[in-house]
């Protein structure tokens, strides 16, 4: 059975293997062992500490089955702890003239720090063979947040990789970033790896960019997810995230935003009392997690459409979740707003 659980140091080899596999280069796993190790250590540290409000913590989760990892996803408690988090905000400027009977809207991209004090979902990666579990991996994070609200901000966002060709060239970067940096996209990403992103402030435009002045190719990919990210993109939509307010400053990948209160998994999940263990027959898909931070476990299973406060789970499943009779578990019935 596939489970989502916090990453540990013994996962490092497998994480590195996944990070080096082919895939979108931005916002997923850094292909760098030292950085991966750092991420795991910080996650372990964050989970062990008593946290009353969001700060430097970040959380790394993995998707595992019988000791093999198939994916990973992370949460950064506060997107910009020591420096701003940069994003392009989609703005609309209305230009109207009564005399000319002209009234039209012009889109402009404005460099924004607005997401700095939000919680960020990041580092999403899933092996294609387990793509059916993208919703488990992505949304398990929201169940974790539901269970540990005080660790997170009231607003949340997620950056997904944007459109790039097989060589890693991004049409948006060609039209925007390259003009300001004179660098290749891949080169820029490689060189900035592991460094402070403060350089972004130095090299990216301080003035809003009028969208009609960008190349048609660049306009076309704005807010479009990389084909490899359609599943997590859909998971975010299912959670009620809004896709259109911000885009990534490098590749124009979608930045989906939401308030925690409006997230489906926070509104519709509930704590249930595990009254007994037995076989359960149900037709509705659920995510179920335990209430622990450091021993967090989340699974996807079928349960009855209506759940009362007291519920039953199969013995094996309870064991996987590391819960026993008398424990509380958090359940949410999966919804699918669009085509998954």
């Amino acid at each position: 059975m596939l489970i989502v659980r916090p990453g540990k140091l013994s996962d490092l080899d497998q994480l590195e293997r996944m990070a080096r596999s082919k895939g979108p280069i931005l916002h997923s796993l850094p292909p760098d062992r030292a950085r991966l190790q750092e991420l795991i250590l910080r996650s372990i540290d964050s989970l062990q500490n008593e946290i009353d409000y969001p700060g430097e913590e970040s959380y790394l989760f993995v998707l595992e089955e019988n000791g093999t990892l198939y994916g990973s996803a992370s949460i950064v408690a506060l997107a910009g702890q020591h420096e701003p988090f940069y994003a392009f905000r989609n703005e609309v400027v209305v230009h109207a003239s009564r005399e000319l009977h002209v009234n039209h809207r012009i889109h402009a991209l404005v460099m924004s720090h607005e997401l700095t004090s939000c919680t960020r979902l990041t580092g999403f990666y899933i092996e294609p063979e387990k793509a059916a579990y993208a919703d488990l991996l992505s949304r398990a994070r929201l169940l974790f947040i539901a269970q540990h609200r005080q660790r997170f901000c009231k607003d949340i966002f997620s950056v997904l990789p944007g459109i790039a060709d097989a060589e890693g060239n991004s049409p948006f970067w060609e039209s925007v970033g390259r003009k300001f940096t004179r660098r290749d996209f891949a080169e820029m990403e490689r060189e900035s790896a592991g460094r402070s992103r403060g350089f972004i402030a130095e090299v990216m435009p301080v003035d809003p960019l009028y969208v009609p002045l960008l190349s048609i190719d660049a306009q076309r990919v704005m807010g479009e997810p990389h084909p490899g990210s359609r599943l997590p993109y859909q998971s975010h939509l299912d959670e009620g995230f809004e896709p259109d307010r911000f885009i990534d400053i490098f590749d124009a990948g979608p930045i989906l935003t939401n308030t925690l209160d409006a997230c489906y998994s926070l509104r519709h999940s509930a704590l249930h009392h595990l009254a007994y263990t037995s076989d359960v027959h149900g037709t509705a898909s659920y995510l179920v997690c335990n209430t622990s931070a450091s021993e967090f476990r989340c699974i996807k299973t079928h349960l009855p459409k209506q759940l009362s406060h007291d519920i039953a789970l199969p013995t094996a499943l309870a064991a996987t979740l590391e819960v026993s009779t008398g424990s509380d578990v958090r359940c949410v019935k999966l919804n699918h707003s669009g085509a998954a």
């Binding site: 400027v93 230009h95 109207a96 003239s97 005399e99 000319l100 002209v102 039209h104 012009i106 402009a108 039209s175 003009k179 300001f180 940096t181 004179r182 660098r183 820029m188 060189e191 900035s192 460094r195 350089f199 130095e202 090299v203 990216m204 435009p205 301080v206 003035d207 809003p208 960019l209 009028y210 009609p212 002045l213 960008l214």
Partner: protein, 345 residues
């Protein structure tokens, strides 16, 4: 036979309208409309008499064939632009995007809507009948205004500018407008230009880009328009440049033509022109010299002509015909300057 440039009067309305017919629709500031021209001439009168507010002050000069009274050219000076209707230009600003850490250094010029030229004196409305675009007529017409600026510098501020016509493609469209203005105004260039000439300028402020525009985001043909002059306008530009005007950082917001500018006290005319006294003689013939501009001193009777005589020891020898054309008598003070700056060999 001599051409002079003089201030416009009420009796010139019909001739001005006739000249405007020759200018055609491209010349938006010179319309064959008698009431519009009469109003403009009245503005000149009020300016001379001192009853016009600074925002309203302007001068209009005509080039006249003294023998026949024919009017062959027109040019103007506005005392201070932008004091009533805002005067818009794009300012070209430079920003450098650099990171030592990342070994990045990138210079990005951008265009920002500006009112920087508010209060500048503007040289404007120049049109010379195509049949008379010969010898030094263009220079006399254009440069007469510098003689006026020098002679009456207390009537003007510190700086002067002149908008030059920009580049259009073979279809008469502006590539700059196509790449930039059309996104914001959603009307045709010529329609926009026409509205401006009618004084309907409020749409400019309502529709123009409010944020700076990075030049690098424009296509190459639009970039090439920035600060470039229409080929028919290039000689006029050279004349102004020879007097000390330069493209600094401002261009037209529609077609990106250059706005030339200068401090008035740094113009060539302020250094190289000087006053001298008129001597009229029909017996003593002065030695021929390079062309000189000669301007008479009195405001209402201001006249500038071109003669091929140089002043000597504070005196300028004029023939009776020249004196008659310029309406000067012996002993009158005139301002003189060589018409073209001397080339440094």
């Amino acid at each position: 036979m001599m051409k002079i440039v003089r201030l416009c009067q009420f009796s010139d309305v019909d001739k001005l309208v006739e000249l405007a017919h020759k200018a055609g629709p491209g010349m938006t500031t010179l319309k064959p409309d008698p009431s519009a021209q009469a109003a403009r001439i009245d503005r000149v009168r009020r300016t001379i008499e001192g009853s016009a507010a600074i925002a309203d002050q302007g001068y209009l000069f005509l080039m006249e064939e003294t023998d026949t009274g024919e009017i062959v050219g027109v040019c103007g000076i506005e005392t201070a632009v932008g004091l009533e209707q805002p005067f818009y230009t794009y300012r070209i600003d430079t920003s450098v995007y650099a990171s030592r850490e990342m070994h990045i250094w990138s210079k990005m010029d951008k265009l920002t809507i500006s009112h920087d030229l508010t209060g500048y004196t503007e040289l404007c409305s120049l049109f010379l009948d195509p049949l008379h675009r010969v010898s030094c007529n263009g220079a006399l017409l254009s440069k007469s205004r510098f003689m006026f600026l020098a002679q009456f510098s207390d009537r003007f501020g510190e700086r002067v500018c002149a908008e030059m016509r920009g580049v259009f493609d073979e279809k008469g469209d502006s590539p700059f407008w196509r790449a930039l203005g059309s996104h914001f105004y959603r009307i045709d260039f010529h329609e926009a230009d026409r509205l401006v000439s009618l004084g309907k300028k409020s749409f400019l402020a309502e529709l123009m880009p409010r944020f700076p525009v990075y030049i690098d985001f424009l296509p190459d043909d639009a970039k090439a328009c920035i600060g470039a002059t229409h080929k028919d306008t290039t000689p006029a530009r050279h004349l102004l440049e020879s007097e000390g005007l330069r493209l600094e950082r401002h261009i037209d917001i529609f077609e990106a033509g250059p706005v030339l500018e200068a401090r008035i006290d740094s113009l060539r005319v302020m250094r190289e022109s000087g006053l001298c006294s008129v001597v009229i003689s029909d017996t003593h013939k002065a030695a021929p010299s390079a062309p000189h501009l000669i301007a008479t001193g009195k405001l209402k009777k201001f006249r500038t002509g071109l003669i091929y005589t140089a002043p000597e020891q504070g005196l300028i020898m004029l023939t009776p015909a020249e004196a008659k054309a310029l309406q000067v008598s012996t002993g009158d003070q005139v301002r003189m300057m060589e018409a073209y700056p001397r080339r440094v060999v």
